[in-house]
Symmetry: C3
């Protein structure tokens, strides 16, 4: 049997996507015991993590397995990621060897590697995670790459199903928010794709200049169409809120200024009113629209305290669901049958 | 049932304190197997650790559980700890979310957060550990905060019981020692409180200007009285040693200079004779007083080599007892019954 | 029973060496289950690690045990390693206490401590790992010290046995390679000793000035003789290749310039032709000589891509064998019987 990687939720196809979500629901209800006895996930973090690390480590343990945590450049060796390079600089090990070796120790490999903030034309190829998958003969799991955060996408989808009943046709607003930094687009792209996979009416609200990568937009449109949903764009947070069943608040940097953070910062100035507030909540469907965020969230910058601490917020449920979808994912990918 | 936190040994009450110590003794004798199967402790370390980390990880594993280690600001996100703040600075995540989320992944949360060395008036409120407990709906365990190191206190108490038989009425000297740095008062306060909980005659020997926080002193006095012990102060290490059953050597900074380390350093000058030596040992009861320290210890600065490597030292037994009291603590807090 | 440390493969004696290798082969074939239930390895890394850390953690888990990872100076306290010192500097804890305490929590202690690059006359005593062994009453395992990397040596030996059938009398070339940094000699010394323990014809090819420590050379000669092998030196990589069954490529610094990296760098200049290439491969026995490296390897600096990605390379098998020899080692040292 060919090994299966997990790099993006859209790669699962409609059946695979629903299969994982249904297994996650069963796992969450306590109906699935064990299944990962003697199984090892080696998780390499080139960037910080709280939820991903904790929830994957918990997921492996709860089913009898184990997660090994590696931190290249800190406790482990710095990686070279370019192919064919003469390695006479500071990078000590090529990802080719890292990937091949970890595949000998582990049953699956997780990799977190954020974009480096230099050239989008290069980053958008998402080469590091793809190369890892190419060189490993065990499944590679994307723990957030330059383009996708598919475990978050799965958790978002499970949360939407729990909170909205059948999400099909319901209104999902992905809203940009101001943030002191230029953040990656992996989470908003993955959230919109997951909502499209659920057949929702996806609205992406963002200031001018903050469009997602055109390839991601194409994927969102195609996925929505294929699942009976639709996609539209909005330039006003307030307008987009009207009748929303779910509002996903998230900041990201303007790709046109990628690699030029000072220019992006200037361009971002004057947009601090893009913050989720109790006032905005009133416009959502019956004032009961659920508010989502992948966390970590900047309080009173992206979302105000009263929303995060109020009844509409489901951000902690989303975080909890990371655990359950990942239990399902690991059982699906490497579980004993 | 309401969740129970473990923030200070005095919060356990006399029965709870003795119950944990008795369970620890049984655990140490190998009489208690399992009990933490499938249970997870998420331990967040904002500061370094050898014993706490190793012994808690061992404790969980030995009974079938697992510890997840998080290091905010290194492998994990930097925390914001102030409530109501507009998070536009460097802190990426508020402890509110960290606490709420970890409570979804784990059965208990451990937090180590040393005082930051700025304003004692603020630090003495011990807000970070208390907020963690407030926002988590799972037990929060203090792995050393600004004011308390209760796991150390439990281990000290178990060691005193092992070495002195019934410690009631026996002489416990907490002696200040010189050290190149201004250290926190959590350990000396916790040790004195634990000795008071055992009903010992507690003597605190320190140079002028090195009194513990008045609230801690009040707790030590009240606890001693309630348990049939008493408390006195001494300004000479030599005098205090006379007839001591146990000498707890520990350095801490003068709180009057808190936040002004240069002034504290000057004030500390000339006090290097506050070091535990073989000569001082002779004054202890029959020359056999046990010498305690929480470790890490500065050799030949706080305690001389000959004492640490000689028969009076019980510092390694204390460290071992961290393991056993924590096994008992976790079984008591989240163990299967 | 006296505890047994594992500091060097030559300390095992011929019987012990073969016993571990045979157990490793059985372990690799899946014939040995469990054996480390409830056992803990505390592994302290003063230097980075990918393979050692992952493979030991996997080894412990696969047999029911657990590895605790410590990183002194990062998540844990900085060590003092000098005996008798007045600890008023930056080091917070003496290795004496670290060793004694970890021995209370764990069934074995692993220590990685590279040479510090100052004085070879001092480093060559390998004091840190030896002191750890002296102060611990549990087995201490060398995870790479200034002088030895014995777990790598075991993995190299298992790989040679797998690839060459009986390696006795077959030609093993240890070849120096250029590298941008002055690297330690622990790996080349351990590899040559392991080959000598297998009774191979050991050839050490290196530029003038790159001899290993005279004590290591003496050990290599004595070990080869005792096992029916022999040792010779070569100053040309090309000449040494002729008829080789196995080529172990590895860079190391010239000990005569130890502690003076700028001089060593100049001396190393002009030696970049010491790189393993496809052309050189042709000279090996029937062109099928296996190419070994401990990893991490500098691609196109020590070994060119075409060799690493070609059929002669066994570097990933070597890395995998770290796992199996360490499973065998831990079962041998602390396994349940």
């Amino acid at each position: 049997m060919r090994k299966r990687d997990f790099l993006a939720t859209e790669d699962l196809g409609p059946d695979g996507f629903q299969r994982i979500l249904e297994l996650a629901a069963r796992v969450k209800r306590g109906e699935v015991k064990g299944g990962l006895e003697g199984k090892i996930l080696a998780a390499a973090f080139m960037d910080p993590s709280l939820r991903t690390r904790s929830s994957f480590e918990a997921a492996m343990f709860l089913h009898g397995g184990h997660m090994i945590v590696l931190e290249p450049g800190r406790g482990s060796w710095t990686w070279e990621t370019e192919p064919g390079v003469v390695m006479e600089g500071t990078a000590v090990e090529h990802l080719i060897e890292t990937s091949r070796v970890l595949a000998r120790y582990a049953d699956a490999i997780g990799v977190r590697v954020f974009p480096r903030g230099k050239e989008w034309v290069k980053e958008r190829q998402d080469r590091v995670i793809r190369d890892f998958a190419a060189y490993s003969d065990k499944p590679v799991i994307n723990l957030e790459s330059a383009r996708r955060h598919p475990c978050q996408g799965l958790a978002d989808a499970l949360t939407l199903k729990e909170k909205l009943g059948d999400p099909k046709g319901k209104k999902f607003v992905l809203s940009w928010a101001w943030h002191p930094k230029s953040l990656p687009t992996a989470v908003p792209a993955s959230a919109a794709i997951a909502a499209a996979q659920l057949g929702m009416e996806v609205v992406i609200a963002r200031p001018e200049g903050y469009d997602l990568d055109p390839d991601d937009m194409a994927t969102i449109y195609q996925t929505a169409t294929a699942n009976g949903g639709r996609v539209s764009l909005a330039t006003s947070m307030t307008d987009a809120m009207v009748g929303a069943d779910a509002v996903y608040v998230k900041s990201w940097g303007a790709l046109q200024f990628y690699g030029r953070p000072e220019e992006e910062r200037e361009y971002r100035a004057g947009k601090r009113n893009w913050m989720m507030t109790v006032d905005l909540l009133k416009a959502t469907k019956a004032g009961k629209g659920v508010v989502m965020h992948c966390l970590p969230v900047r309080r009173n910058v992206e979302i105000e305290d009263a929303v995060l601490d109020g009844p509409n917020s489901v951000v902690v449920d989303q975080a909890e669901n990371r655990l359950h979808v990942q239990r399902a994912l690991m059982l699906d990918l490497i579980g004993r049958r």
